[in-house]
Amino acid sequence: MRLRFLSVGALVCASALMSCQREKMELRPAPAQVAVFGEAARESDLQPGGALPPVTNPDHGEANAISEGQRLFSWYNCTGCHANGGGAIGPPLITSNWIYGGEPSNLFDTIVKGRPNGMPAWGGRIPEYQIWQLVAYIRSLNGLEPKSATPERQDHLETNPETRRYQPGEANR
């Protein structure tokens, strides 16, 4: 009796959990997402009246996608201008003050089409799924992705200004 009760309970719990797919890992991008946009294609496709329709990032909250975005961020040399998010030649990406908007659709648009004064257009180069990964990563830098999907640190020099109240190399007291 007790055994039956327990086993039924275990089954119910297990199936409830199974329906909850916490982390998605799709190694092969969906065919619809490997498209590469020319600037024009993007313009005509998504911006009929000038205003951007609300687009949700398919990778929102996906830990694996954010991690991949982080890799791409340095591999595609975004760090060359934006450093690790703090900004250098390019504007900082850890910011609340987005020049071209910080919504996923804005960021997507910025990456695809480029922006004046140096931001190149990546639309013709890299496939859509990677752009979404980059968008997810950039938003994770600002805490706009769930904390549970955002890595707390990376295997390089500490960049968070909150963690250290001295300049490395400053003389000891």
Partner: protein, 326 residues
């Protein structure tokens, strides 16, 4: 899959020797020493194992013995002392072999090769005091027979382990550290190696080949590798070169002599001269290359090569161009 098997078999047969990636088929002094040690251990410990088993099973065949406890104590004590001495001997033999086969730097003149582990491929640089004579390649190491080769191991991401069983034991490649080991190939041949430390999704497909050649042949290979990529000879391959430079390829790969200087993926300057693509995953031929470029994630799921859609004509041109990178 069958085609792939046949192709690799052919590739192996075309070389001077075949490799079954085995520690028991040594092709160098180091692996020979280790293999000898292995056979010694196996014989001795195997004999001991058989004796112990016979002693264990004997009481099943005959009734209980009425040995006096003092006698039993002497026997067990004696056997234990013999075990101690044997193990002591094994430690000595093992340490002597270790000294002979390992060591951090080879004696005398040697070839220094820097191997950097990446998820999931090997970057290879032949070090040279003259920067213009540094050869960069990937997933394939050519070495001259009879010259010690020093491997300088690095890693760009996680811990990998460099292992060519036919030549030497393994050495971990650890981020932030430099590890070294050296080996010397005695027989010309092609020896397969594989990452031996679990490094993530495609740990299984992180292989490399060591090609041991007679010194002259090696020198010729080296000279050829030092050349930049040849200019595309015809319209189709020229177009292929443009495809390469205008798509995502150029973001990650370098081809010396062109504007492509990406440092993220393997250097492709002499891609067509290599035995395999995708770190030993597929034999290097046009069909496999086409499949790999079109849909890398179905061949090696999880690898970091982007899936880039190409028009069929662009793909054909790109393949033709890559085929020229001999």
């Amino acid at each position: 899959m069958r085609a792939r098997t046949a192709a690799l078999a052919l590739a192996a047969a075309g070389g001077c020797g075949t490799s079954n990636q085995s520690a028991l088929d040594p092709a160098g002094a180091q692996s020979q020493g280790i293999a000898a040690l292995w056979w010694f251990f196996l014989t001795l410990l195997g004999a001991i194992f058989v004796i112990v088993m016979v002693m264990t099973l004997l009481p099943l065949l005959r009734g209980p013995r009425n040995a006096g406890e003092p006698r039993l104590t002497r026997v067990v004590g004696g056997v234990s002392v013999v075990t101690l001495l044997l193990l002591f001997g094994l430690v000595i033999v093992s340490v002597i072999t270790g000294r002979a086969t390992a060591g951090n730097t080879p004696p005398g003149r040697h070839l220094a090769v820097e191997v950097t582990g990446n998820q999931w491929w090997w970057a290879v640089r032949y070090l040279n005091d003259d920067p213009s004579r540094i050869v960069v390649t990937a997933n394939e190491i050519h070495v001259p027979v009879g010259t010690p080769v020093l491997i300088r191991g690095l890693s760009n991401d996680v811990i990998h382990s460099f292992w060519i069983p036919n030549l030497q034991g393994k050495r971990d490649l650890i981020p932030s550290r430099i590890t070294t080991e050296w080996f010397e190939a005695d027989k010309p041949g092609r020896y397969r190696g594989q990452c031996a430390e679990f490094c993530g999704l495609q740990h299984a497909h992180m292989a490399l080949w060591v090609v041991a050649e007679p010194p002259e042949q090696f020198e010729a290979w080296m000279e050829h590798q030092l050349q930049p990529a040849a200019a595309p000879p015809d319209a189709l391959t020229r177009r292929g070169g443009e495809v390469f430079l205008s798509h995502a390829c150029v973001l990650c790969h370098a081809i010396s002599g062109t504007a492509a200087a990406g440092q993220v993926g393997p250097d492709l300057t002499h891609l067509a001269s290599r035995l395999t693509i995708a770190a030993g995953t597929l034999p290097n031929n046009k069909g496999n290359l086409a499949g790999w470029i079109t849909d890398p994630q179905s061949i090696k799921p999880g690898n970091h090569m982007a899936t880039v859609p190409l028009e069929p004509e662009d793909l054909q041109a790109l393949l033709a161009y890559l085929e020229t990178l001999r």
